[in-house]
Amino acid sequence: MTWDYAPAPESRAVVTIAGEYGLFVDGEFGPAADGRQFPTVNPATEETLAQVALAGQADVDRAVAAARAAHQDAWGPMPGAERAKYLYRIARVLQERAREFAVLESLDNGKPVRESRDVDVPLAAAHFFYYAGWADKLEYAGLGPAPRPLGVAGQVIPWNFPLLMAAWKLAPALAAGNTCVLKPAETTPLTALLLAEVCQQADLPPGVVNVLTGAGDTGAALVSHPGVDKVAFTGSTDVGKEISRALAGTGRRLTLELGGKGANIVFDDAPADQAVEGIVNGIFFNQGHVCCAGSRLLVQESVADTVVDRLKERLATLRLGDPLDKNTDIGAINSREQLDKISALSAAGDAEGAERWSPPCPLPARGFWFPPTVFTGVSQSYRIAREEIFGPVLSVLTFRTPEEAVTKANNTPYGLSAGVWTEKGSRILWMAQRLRAGVIWANTYNRFDPASPFGGYRESGFGREGGRHGLAAYLDA
């Protein structure tokens, strides 16, 4: 007898999607100066959700000017205690409209509503809450007795956690007294625009937050704008390097949160079931569209067969499909472009000699989908062990000694995250000392908290988001 899940779709009716969306500049929504628009689609159905304004140079100029004026006239001179109360208001409205945000995020991004509802949206609200509390306590952040805001922040965010990344960027910047021009990703603009509406509802002074939707050219115009004092970028390492070059010599401040190739290291004494759950969460959370994903499984040779077998058993139970179904584990790939990239890198894994496995997993006829995939027999030189796939694809490698695990884990130009699974506390800390990565998860993976700093070593970028340390990126101390 087989037991199946009944459909459990979250209601789409909780959110109203307009046919068209404008840019949010100086407290008002309006079209791009040249009237251009682009569509945003639901990646699970390829249905066009809305037409969104495409910001050009003139719009960037206007938004930066609005942010500058707001910084000089309103937000900069405002006491921290008053800034705090605005941020608390935003946090509260986010909590109140949480379900709306979750459904909109899943529609625009393709991620399971279980994740947008339980992770993205509550964490976004928590970030505003946490940094609201810093706005009137900056002198206690350990950065100096009288830290000052930098001015206007230009912030470019990715499509994998659209609302959460907006919160990670805006909350610390605003708490520190900066004003912001935020450029959400081309494929996921809608929740940032809803957040702009929340800013209106909180009576945030015009120009303190501006949202410019658009594509790569919009982002390039923003980060290279001479009126921007600080640039914060989350996205690919290639674009991060371009931004670094564009800002070289300007003296403008920059933080980068870039790619990763996280190693998830499982020792022979690790509790196997927990480790398997952690491996699944590490690489299949959010379809693997996670810069800190545990995309390389390093498993101790003596337990490799057992762990991989159990992992495959577990993967066979994952449910792929409608992101709005509350039982869905794996949603849609965010775009055709990303699906092509995942497919190409996986094909390279085949060509280089790794063994590909996926559970039996029918894919919907429309939309962008990729089944959970495990490559075994992967060598360190393979592209699937070196390059960020940013999809639900796990590469399995083995090791014999802790030293070998460290060497292999650090054998990457990245350094964002790593996981360690072992019952031995001293070994966790020994490993953590040696792993060259900004976040180490021990017997857990992909945990995030506003109080916890996040960011990378080496080519995963520099600067930290979250925690007391996250304020440093937005203060002159």
């Binding site: 205690a81 705090a84 109360k85 608390y88 928590a126 809450f129 946490y130 609201a132 509390g133 810093w134 009137d136 306590k137 206690y140 952040a141 350990g142 802790p402 506390g425 001293s426 070994r427 800390l429 020994w430 000392q433 908290d449 506003p450 109080a451 925690g467 007391r468």
Partner: protein, 318 residues
């Protein structure tokens, strides 16, 4: 608007004669004008374990306005009430201190939201009880609400400011975190009904302690109204317990109580602190007292005064 003043308030007392004078015709002239509505007064009681009992002793004491008019008969808490309050605070400690810092911050922020909704009532109480001008009372109440917001932001930051990873000379990971001391007794400042009270109470519970507060003896009305706010917020019962009465009677009971971990004697005059400190030594209480300008921005010292630093050693090795 809660608790409109009683008949002893001069303006209200004058009203009935005026109303009578305005109706000269009486029944013969047609309809008599409706008599002015009589206010419903509030009974000011204690706040212990989330409930509002009177003092078990049955005692009360008169609370008067700046002009000497009687405002209320507040409960005069007894030794037994103080002990009951400590029991309630102890019972609430495990859950409150064990809640996540984020949760405690959310709960405290919610209190600020409710305080804001009661601002007019607090202002009126300050005017009547403390004799502040309306503008002074407005400022004090606004400062009290903003101070509560300030402290609401601290629970998930205090460990980041006061904790440390300690670079010991050996293969150990060593870190220190502040933890709440436990049940803290607070003698609230005598001269500031709401702002002074908030300034000493909020830091105690923001850092995860539970509190037994002795309200200002002369200005207890705001404290009871604050208790009503706490009772309808998400603050669990027993986290804050409010006693009204005579500080000289209650402070020694709390200072000598063996299940109180720390005491804030700010509301006790300097000359009275020595004897209470001697009592507090009986179970090695942490004692804190600092006379402050309540209008000035506070630092984190009141929170840190009621925390213990815990240090953890863990070996590092394969």
């Amino acid at each position: 608007m809660p608790d409109r003043a009683g008949p002893r308030r001069p303006a209200r007392a004058r009203r009935p004669p005026r109303a009578a004078a305005a109706a000269p015709a009486g029944p013969a002239g047609g309809r008599a004008p409706a008599p002015p509505r009589l206010g419903v007064r509030k009974t000011y009681k204690l706040f212990i374990g989330g409930a509002f009992p009177r003092s078990e002793s049955g005692r009360s004491y008169p609370v008067t306005g700046a002009d000497g008019t009687l405002l209320a008969h507040a409960a005069r808490a007894s030794r037994k009430d103080a002990r009951d309050a400590v029991t309630a605070a102890r019972a609430a400690f495990a859950a409150w201190s064990g809640a996540t810092a984020y949760n405690r911050g959310q709960v405290l922020y919610r209190v600020a939201e409710l305080l804001d909704g009661r601002a007019a009532q607090f202002t009126e109480t300050s005017v009547r009880n403390e004799g502040l001008s309306a503008a002074e009372a407005d400022r004090a109440v606004a400062a009290a609400i903003d101070r509560w917001v300030w402290y609401a932001g601290w629970p998930d930051k205090i460990a980041q400011v006061a904790g440390a990873a300690n670079p010991v000379a050996g293969p150990y990971f060593n870190f220190s975190v502040p933890e709440p001391a436990g049940v803290v007794a607070v003698v609230a400042p005598a001269g500031s009904g709401l702002l002074g009270l908030v300034s000493v109470l909020a830091p105690v519970i923001a850092s995860g302690n539970t509190a037994v507060v002795v309200a200002s003896e002369a200005y207890p009305l705001a404290a009871v109204t604050l208790a009503e706010v706490l009772a309808t917020s998400d603050v669990p019962a027993g986290v804050v317990n409010v006693l009204t009465g005579l500080a000289a009677e209650l402070a020694p009971v709390l200072a000598g109580h063996m299940d109180v971990n720390a005491i804030d004697l700010t509301g006790v005059g300097v000359s009275g602190r020595g004897e209470l400190e001697r009592l507090a030594a009986g179970n090695v209480k942490r004692v804190f007292a600092a006379d402050e300008d309540w209008a000035a921005p506070p630092g984190p010292r009141r929170m840190l005064a009621f925390t213990e630093i815990k240090t953890v050693w863990h070996p590092v090795g394969i």
